[in-house]
Symmetry: C2
Subunit: 149 residues, 2 copies
């Protein structure tokens, strides 16, 4: 009862700019998983559903541990699905203050390589069928794979 009241009162909602720039894949225990509308790179976001959190240290210790668990699960899924050379993981938030963690699959020779992706090149629209295949593959890895390590 107390839990469900707390959940009802929780005013969290996805920041409008994140909502505009992404498609929802689904919710993990703590975070909403999103794919960014930019086909230059396989690019996911994890957004902890905690109202007012802007920094990782705004989460409490249990939430931070959960974020790391979810980050590892998502990073592993993205690495397997994309067969990338390197993952880029970042919580920046200089423009959109709502805490969000980028998980990006990089390949040697991709747009902007080896620089970080932000501002490297204009967004590229997704091919709807490729996006659908990508989201389906990520969902299968993130929600069906049981082990976390």
């Amino acid at each position: 009862m107390i839990m469900s009241n707390l959940l009802t009162l929780d005013p969290w909602s996805l920041h409008p700019q994140l909502a505009r720039d992404t498609i929802v894949i689904g919710d993990l225990a703590l975070s909403r998983l999103l794919v960014v509308n930019d086909a230059n790179w396989p690019w996911l976001l994890l957004v902890p559903r905690r109202q007012g959190a802007s920094e990782i240290i705004d989460l409490d210790e249990v939430e931070r541990a959960q974020l790391m668990t979810e980050l590892a699960r998502v990073a592993r899924a993205l690495k397997e699905v994309s067969a990338c050379d390197k993952l880029n993981v970042a919580a920046l938030g200089n423009v959109v203050p709502q805490l969000h963690v980028h998980v990006i699959a990089r390949r040697s020779g991709d747009a902007g390589w080896p620089k970080p992706i932000w501002g490297a090149t204009p967004p590229l629209p997704h091919d709807p069928r490729e996006l659908d295949r990508f989201v389906t593959a990520i969902k299968r890895k993130v929600w069906i794979t049981a082990e976390d390590s």
Copy 2:
């Protein structure tokens, strides 16, 4: 004796480029804490002392939890010491493959704001006395503060 043998056999060493670009602050249980030789921003690195680790998911589950604990401790210290507007946390590694986590204090209006710092502006040498004060303040917060949350 066993410990000291293990330490002798541990082949981890700091990547030469990270060694060249930073000054050592000290070692946490898992990570070496460094300050980057660039006075444009208060800029720390956490480098887990695990040979061959390039991605966060190359660490095992216990090490990932420890990395999050150390990251939170360092981020809190940096936020307090710098009185920054925003922390930027990132594990990129497209150039230097050894796993390293950037923890950067940003201020509205700093060099490159609100863009990420990489490539924003040429490195600026530290004033040795300011650097010494900064390192002393970070050390005090990271090693003396007892609580992790």
